[in-house]
Symmetry: C2
Subunit: 322 residues, 2 copies
């Protein structure tokens, strides 16, 4: 085609109407002091096909503090070559996080939570990690070290996404038992203001390496709740991960970094494709609004929080949850 | 290839050392009360090839408030079909922004700045817009409506990126003179904690539609300063924009949305490629640290802010700057 010079469009009336309800659903303390944002959270973990018995090396925790909090840690598998179980560090990091989240100093700051949880580890190993905390005002605070990911979906499109941090291909930033690793000071720290109805999709790299954004959007659109969405997303990523013909985000990234099949296979039209077998952890959280009873106890719950209660706090890894 | 099951790696010692200096360069008021973050900003605008005489429809402003502030507005070109000059709205929006940034209420909140600047417009038209404000502590606050973009580059990789919002392909969210458009309440609002040395690359869609992240990283790496980087980035995007053989981010996105050449051309091996001719605005900002003299006036400036001073506040569009 000739270089395009498409004139961009003003939205037709058709598209304007659905946008308006959002304006009424912000969590503004000035406009509705008793409205609070909470997360309805669903989770699903599928271990690497060869690690089903041990439960894999991902771990996560979910808590009801503030408007809701969750975290994912992915134990770096390279430690197995040194006869270290890579799951120990990630599980301890999540167990520590679930303890320290009760601490007043860290309950509002995901980076301080990472610092304390990391400092309290005694296991040998390392892990990528992401922590997300929702304030009751609707602000989501995120700290991430490495290539766990988080996306926010609003009105059928990805409107926020974290970026992975890595030293080089397949060597992510990581919190470690060794001084050589990164610390919480190296984390990507950011916040995003959420609205009622926003969906958060977070996962380990084993999830995002095996699924495209358009697939995530389709599954979210079709799922009745966050539990079902997390399960469907994890299963779709697992299916892709063992499909040697699937041109996955991972294989596309590998090719863009210069990895490919040998030259003689290229001559035959072959290219590097395939999913990436890995532990897959998915957390899906929906932002809901609740009206907190005021001092006279006259508040009414505007919208019930669904079955996937955020109050179901706890630490889990595939070992426990599968 | 068979489905990969690559074992991820711990970083070798080689990669750990360069990481350490970052830990000492955070803007923590607890650790160095007199250290303040400021932006050294470079800008460059290249109008659409057929709009050189009128200067195009992008506008921007740069200011020295707080640790530094900048904004880009991209007038929606579809208004020309209604005999409205699409540049008027975007320029007025930026002029208003440069006025209201002095207002204490808005100087800390890019979303309130958008609200006030939008409310004060009298021109007919609409525009996509992004505003970024750096606090002296190093926190960058962003509000974006539509498909202007902003990326943060740290240690040679993109570690933060905004996502575009659109109604459908080539119809972005936009602030408008008409009630049908979006408002500041529809903005993506987020923050990211920056470190000394971080580079911010922001632009209109005419920039990001014509350049890949790897190209941005290469140019940033090679440029001696933010002025040179902004110019080189804009010129590379312009070159791609008029290249009918370049498989641009825009043409890749178009194909992923189902647009392509006619079937008979496909049979001949053709596909939809090409750059997108558009106004191109690029702002490059580097985070620097200055030591502010304390009460006794004993402070020393640790690092001089480069030639591209952030204090060079003003409003500009291609009409003025080209």
């Amino acid at each position: 085609m000739a270089a395009s010079t498409a004139s961009r469009l003003s939205p037709p009336r058709l598209h304007a109407a659905p946008n308006h309800p959002l304006r009424r659903s912000r969590f503004s303390p000035l406009r509705a002091a008793k409205l609070e944002a909470v997360l309805s959270i669903g989770t699903h973990v599928i271990p690497h096909p060869r690690k089903v018995e041990t439960g894999g090396e991902d771990a996560f925790f979910v808590g009801g503090d503030g408007g809701g909090v969750f975290a994912i840690a992915d134990g770096v598998s390279g430690w197995a070559e040194k006869n270290v179980n890579p799951a120990l560090f990630s599980r301890e990091l999540m167990a520590n996080s679930s303890t320290f989240i009760k601490d007043e100093e860290v309950s509002q700051d995901p980076q301080i939570l990472l610092m304390k949880a990391h400092a309290a580890t005694s296991s040998i190993g390392s892990a990528t990690v992401i922590v997300a905390m929702l304030e009751k005002t609707g602000t989501l605070k995120i700290a991430s070290v490495g290539d766990c990911g988080l996306k926010v979906i609003r009105k059928g499109q990805v409107m926020f996404s974290t970026c992975p941090q890595e030293h080089y291909f397949d060597c992510p930033y990581q919190l470690s038992s060794e001084a050589i690793g990164q610390t919480s000071q190296d984390a990507l720290v950011c916040t995003v203001n959420l609205m009622e109805g926003d969906m958060i999709v977070s996962g380990s790299d084993g999830f995002f390496d095996n699924i495209f954004d358009q697939e995530i959007l389709a599954v979210i659109n079709e799922s009745p709740g966050t539990d079902e969405a997390a399960k469907a997303l994890a299963e779709l990523a697992r299916k892709h991960s063992v499909d040697v013909t699937f041109d996955s985000p991972y294989s596309m990234e590998a090719r863009s970094r210069g990895f490919d099949v040998p030259w003689w296979k290229k001559l035959l039209g072959a290219k590097l494709v395939g999913g990436k077998m890995d532990d897959i952890t998915v957390i899906v959280a929906q932002v809901k609004t609740v009206v907190i009873p005021d001092d006279e106890g006259s508040g009414i719950e505007l919208e019930k929080v669904g079955g996937e209660q955020l109050a179901a706090a706890g630490v889990a890894s595939a070992e426990q949850s599968e």
